[in-house]
């Protein structure tokens, strides 16, 4: 367990007055407040730290104890434990201090707990005055082929199994809100929500841009020259294509509606763009060389 420098966290001097501490705390709280920094874990951590620092430095009794023992806090532990116990007896349920400012929405550090004996303000880590249940955040890693079709999946969130429908066409990095799948509300309040962020990895031969898919198709030299029929892969099957005689390398073919499904628009798909990549034969046999040379001479005439 490491010593925590609360003065450093609040960016104040050790001699800072009560007003200076309050001001510093307010300023940092405005900067790192979770409501102003949604989905920012770093800000959330910082916010917890400044709340803990404030809990100590803004209460004269806590601050004095912190200053007295400082980095030698470990020696204080035993003595304080017995003192704390006595206090609990005297005050009943009430702990050593009452929560000023506001609750940080999480537990305090081990350092804090060992020095001040845990949090006294009730609520078990809940934000003050919260009626609606806590919102949960979760991340779901999927493969691109998983999100080609709408499917159901069972997730375990905070030890509870929930079954959700993942709509086709969910994008990488997209966040969806699943109402009522968060924590229980208090005093009959509504349940919290679940915010699910999707990470979609693409290990296919197709590139995805919005709803359109892009891929290359190998085309043999002879089909390119003379035309013909080839089979190409689409995302979920195969398709027959007619190749025109004299097809150039890099020619693009657009297959309407063969792209990726559009999120929440059933039956709507993007397009598939195929680019022909003409394969030039290598390791020619003597006979082939002879014939190609003949062809070359014919062209020059």
């Amino acid at each position: 367990m490491a010593f925590i420098d609360y003065y450093k966290i609040l960016e104040v001097d050790k001699k800072a007055t009560e007003a200076e501490i309050k001001k510093a705390y307010r300023k940092l709280a405005r900067k790192y407040h979770p409501d102003l920094n949604p989905n920012d874990k770093e800000a959330e951590k910082k916010f917890k730290e400044i709340n803990e620092a404030n809990e100590v430095l803004s209460h004269a009794e806590n601050r004095k104890k912190y200053d007295d023992y400082g980095e030698n806090w470990q020696h204080a532990e035993e003595f304080e434990k017995s003192k704390q116990q006595r206090q609990y007896h005297e005050n009943g349920q009430q702990g050593g201090f009452s929560g000023g400012g506001f609750s940080g929405g999480g537990d305090f550090s081990d350092f804090f707990e060992s020095m001040f004996g845990g949090r006294a303000s009730g609520g078990g880590g809940r934000r003050s005055g919260q009626f609606k249940g806590q919102d949960f955040n979760a991340e779901l890693h999927l493969e691109l082929k998983d999100v080609f079709t709408t499917h159901k999946r069972t997730l375990t969130i905070n030890g509870k199994n929930i079954r959700i429908t993942i709509p086709a066409g969910v994008e990488n990095g997209q966040q969806i809100k699943i109402s009522g799948m968060g924590g229980e509300g208090s005093s009959g309040g509504p349940k919290g929500d679940l915010y699910l962020t999707f990470t979609v990895a693409n290990h296919t031969n197709f590139k995805l841009d919005k709803h359109n898919l892009y891929s290359t198709v190998d085309l043999d030299l002879y089909s390119a020259l003379l035309g013909g029929e080839i089979t190409a892969d689409t995302f979920d099957g195969k398709v027959k294509l007619t190749v025109k005689p004299g097809t150039q390398n890099g020619t693009k073919v657009k297959l309407k509606g063969k792209g990726f499904p559009v999120y929440k628009k059933e039956g709507e798909f993007g397009d598939l763009y195929l680019t022909y990549q003409i394969q030039i034969p290598t390791n020619l046999s003597e006979k082939e060389k002879e014939l190609f040379t003949e062809l070359a001479t014919l062209r020059k005439l």
Binding site: R26, A29, R30, H33, D35, L36, P38, G101, F102, R127, S128, G129, Q130, F131, K132, D135, E171, N172, G173, Q174, S187, G189, P190, D193, N202, K207, L208, D209, K210, Y214
Partner: protein
């Protein structure tokens, strides 16, 4: 209209320890829709998330209602930019792989 989705404002005032006028002011600012049924005022439970956020910003950061309106507008703007950034990032992946 389903009554079960409606929460009486006086109940919320007790829960959040705010004045009745707080909700009226929010409504005047266009941040909240108050529903009146038989001269009783209610709030749709879907709005709770937003209300709790507003109350936290108001109480914990000492921001007045006009300030909250500004904050919420900016947050909405950030959200839009975040979505755009995500789309652009996905598009960039096309060229990086």
């Amino acid at each position: 209209m389903k009554m079960e989705n409606l929460i009486p404002i006086p109940e919320l005032c007790i829960l959040y320890t705010v004045e009745l006028s707080f909700f009226t002011n929010l409504s005047e600012m266009g941040l909240l829709e108050i529903k009146t049924i038989e001269s009783k005022e209610y709030i749709d439970s879907d709005a709770i998330y937003e209300i709790e956020k507003i109350i936290r910003i108001h109480k914990e950061l000492d921001v007045n209602i006009a300030g909250i309106d500004v904050v919420l507008n900016l947050l909405q703007k950030i959200d839009g930019l975040h979505n755009e950034l995500n789309t652009l990032r996905n598009r960039l992946r096309l060229y990086e792989s």
